[in-house]
């Protein structure tokens, strides 16, 4: 039995964040290198790792994001190996090198605590009452992990003057320097999008990238359990 399962043993750590398979993230934790992760995303850990839900720093930075339930982010600190996952979503590990990226709130899995980050509500887009489209802007040099339902795709926005329009439910991340606006791109009586009334797309223009997942399922599974 060990032989059959041995192939799933973790590989030696070579970096702060690594994929274990497509859908699991392995983070090497060390003292002084704290991590912010989605609340409820921890599936396993080895070593001494402590979790602090709704930490004060988050409350300061993401005051708007904090609803009655608190911000969906916890602070992880300690020594050990931490395994994170989000209900089988694909995990994309990014090593920011003095870059910045804007991530849809539900697609953030984890990021280094020392990165600069902030939360803002996407302008021009009111989805449902109480559940707007929040995005987390992360900048600096360090590690970020995103989730995507299915293999994501990355497109260059800045090709010619053609704007890129994305279904907000499928949007994962984008370059923060892009101009964003909401758009209703349907003619009278035609509905696209989910067909339930919100036929919005987000229009991106400028020089940068847009990351999109092949699924319009943006439900926040980690949050439903609350």
């Amino acid at each position: 039995m060990n032989q059959q399962l041995a192939g799933f043993a973790p590989t030696p750590v070579t970096a702060r964040m690594e994929n274990h398979g497509r859908t699991m993230l392995k983070v090497a934790m060390a003292a002084g290198q704290d991590l912010y992760a989605r609340t409820g995303s921890m599936v396993a850990y080895e070593g001494f790792v402590q979790y602090e839900p709704n930490p004060p720093a988050v409350r300061q930075i993401a005051a708007q994001w904090v609803t009655g339930e608190g911000a969906p982010i916890m602070k992880c600190s300690g020594d050990g190996l931490l395994y994170l996952a989000d209900y089988g979503a694909d995990v994309v590990v990014i090593n920011l090198n003095n870059d910045s990226i804007s991530v849809n709130g539900t697609n953030v899995l984890a990021f280094d605590a020392h990165l600069q980050w902030g939360v803002e509500k996407v302008k021009g887009l009111a989805k449902f009452a109480g559940q707007g489209l929040w995005n987390v802007e992360i900048a600096g040099t360090g590690w970020v992990a995103l989730t995507s339902r299915g293999t994501p795709i990355v497109v260059d926005c800045g090709r010619g003057e053609d704007e890129t329009y994305v279904d907000p439910d499928a949007l994962v991340a984008w370059s923060p320097n892009l101009k964003v606006k909401g758009k209703r791109s349907f003619k009278a009586s035609s509905l696209i999008g989910r067909g339930s009334g919100e036929a919005y797309q987000m229009a991106f223009s400028g020089q940068g990238i847009v990351v999109v997942q092949p699924s319009e399922d943006s439900t926040d599974r980690l949050r439903i359990r609350h």
């Binding site: 032989q3 192939g7 970096a15 392995k26 279904d167 349907f186 003619k187």
Partner: protein, 552 residues
């Protein structure tokens, strides 16, 4: 501009470049490992029927010099020159492979690629990293294959057993292990250098260069490399082939395959990368349980696997990352762009381009006809695209009413690219050229408006909703079908049955009337709870059905 291929992508060479005198470069590297990169010239049965077309360091060219090994140059670990129009007719496929010489596994490799250069310009590149592989010790990187015309395919298929398994797969034979094969082969090492040294890379950049880079006599003379049968046993005894099989000496743990088992027993480890455990690239020093803290495993050794039992976890004292967390840059370099590079949009200049298994890109500027897509399946578009409501007609409304599932379409027209996906389902584009196909209405994602389509209804007792609705497409164009999971395509025989909930599509050979081809088989197993409604398919040979592993 070079095209970036993903695993599984294929294209005609003539679409990539007009030239037939191609340079194929392979880059593959891992710390502490060496690789043998070879080219197999296979016949129509994908067998290595002629050993002279196994091009490797010991046999650097084929008899008529249509395939030549050029050695490392311009950033490539190994390079070949392939002159497609000089390849003999019995060779139908050229498979480029890399095998690890010695111990090691493919998950350790860093970012590599196979690329095709014509006229000094790179036309296609398939990039890969170790994360796509696990314990494999050989990998088929890419193929040139003859299907009407020569085509290129990005393969990326690993083999657990190394070169030996690869050779067996191609019908070659491997001599017994001969670790000492070096000595009797005294002539062989002296033979390889001239090929590498004499590779005139600059002259070869021009695809028009008709002349082989070097005269034949210089090759034929030193060793009896002339195409002759007696050469074959000698080739099989070549050191490279023996080396991976020879047991590593000393403290080196047994190579990975012995632990993981061979592919037949455990195909899920070696062959399905999507499910493969997280064998991440780079075997750099790290902290593995069971190891003395601070001790550095030598890179390139799969020692953690060979020695460690999973149970060791429980005994390991916590606080594993001794001396800080490695912050090394990931494979492929640091930075946002590098991290997202594997997910880049791929544009092949065709109307329908699968971006990955779950996303389809349609370029409306190609062909000019609008596309009809299921409402809500658009995840992104670029350019000036208009979306308008398109009812599925009367029959479509019947579908909606009867099944409760609105089959509403939208019409995408204009100039631009539309990206379609739905719930992460697998997408398959089916190109119709005058033939017909029936697709279960729930599995239609999008299709060209140029196709004739009609909704048909298969009534039957016990079908949820009262009837099964299918859309029949005919004409010339593309249908995109979505399936949950990887489907199976079965030929239609007199005894082909399918669950009506799992069947996705079936061929409608144009001269056969559909209603007579499909017959509902009611209550095939009375009393059986779930599988009461099956469809039986009948048709002439050559027809097929597509079934998904998911019963809606």
């Amino acid at each position: 501009m070079a095209r970036e291929f993903q695993r599984g992508h294929k294209a005609k060479i003539s679409d990539l470049t007009p030239g037939t005198d191609l340079y194929v470069g392979v880059q593959i590297a891992a710390p502490g490992l060496t690789f043998d990169i070879s080219c197999f010239g296979l016949d129509a049965n994908e067998q290595l029927s002629d050993d002279r077309y196994f091009i490797f360091f010991n046999q650097p060219k084929s008899p008529e010099e249509s395939i030549q090994l050029l050695g490392a140059q311009s950033g490539d670990t190994e390079s070949f020159r392939v002159t497609l129009d000089r390849i003999p007719a019995n060779i139908h496929k050229l498979s480029f492979t890399a095998t690890i010489d010695g111990a090691g596994q493919m998950s350790q490799i860093g970012p590599g690629y196979i690329r095709v250069v014509a006229g000094g310009e790179e036309v296609v590149r398939y990039a890969f990293t170790g994360s796509e592989f696990t314990t494999e010790r050989a990998v088929m990187l890419g193929d040139f294959y003859l299907k009407d015309v020569w085509r290129f395919a990005a393969v990326g298929q690993g083999f657990d057993g190394g070169l030996e398994a690869l050779l067996k797969n191609f019908g070659g034979e491997v001599a017994e292990e001969q670790p000492a094969a070096q000595q009797p082969q005294g002539a062989a090492p002296s033979f390889a250098p001239p090929a590498q040294a004499s590779a005139p890379a600059p002259a070869f950049g021009a695809p028009a260069a008709p002349q082989a880079p070097q005269p034949a006599p210089s090759f034929g003379a030193p060793v009896a490399q002339t195409p002759a049968a007696p050469q074959n046993p000698q080739m099989h005894a070549a050191p490279t082939m023996a080396a991976p099989m020879s047991p590593p000496a000393g403290t080196v743990p047994p190579p990975a395959p012995s632990l993981y088992g061979q592919p037949p027993q455990q195909p899920q480890f070696g062959q399905v990368p999507a499910q493969a455990p997280g064998q991440m690239p780079g075997q750099a020093p790290g902290q593995m349980p069971g190891q003395v803290p601070g001790q550095m495993p030598q890179p390139g050794m799969p020692s953690p696997y060979g020695q460690q039992a999973p149970a060791a976890y429980g005994q390991q004292p916590p606080g594993m990352p001794q001396g800080g967390v490695p912050q090394g840059a990931p494979q492929g370099g640091a930075g946002l762009q590098a991290a997202l590079q594997p997910y880049r949009e791929t544009a092949t200049g065709q109307r329908w381009t699968p971006q990955n298994q779950q996303l389809m890109r349609v370029d409306l500027t190609m062909g000019g006809t609008p596309v009809l897509a299921r409402q809500g399946s658009m995840v992104m578009y670029q350019g000036k695209v208009e979306f308008s409501y398109k009812g599925a007609g009367f029959a479509g409304r019947v579908v909606g009413n009867a099944t409760g599932q609105e089959m509403q379409l939208m019409r995408c027209s204009g100039r631009g690219q539309v990206f379609l996906a739905e719930d992460g389902a697998h997408l398959h584009s089916i190109e119709l050229q005058g033939d017909g196909i029936c697709v279960s209405a729930e599995n239609v994602l999008a299709f060209d408006e140029s196709l004739q389509h009609e909704v048909r209804r298969i009534e039957g007792h016990g079908i949820p909703g009262g009837a099964l609705f299918t859309m029949m497409f005919q004409g010339t164009g593309t249908v995109v079908v979505k399936t949950h999971g990887i489907p199976v395509v079965l030929p239609v025989t007199p005894t082909t049955f399918a669950d009506c909930n799992a069947v996705v599509a079936w061929s409608a050979a144009s001269q056969v009337i559909l209603s007579s081809q499909v017959r509902l088989r009611r209550n095939a197993y009375p009393g059986h709870s779930g599988e009461t409604v099956n469809l039986q398919f009948r048709g002439a040979p050559g027809n097929f059905i597509v079934v998904q592993p998911y019963e809606v």
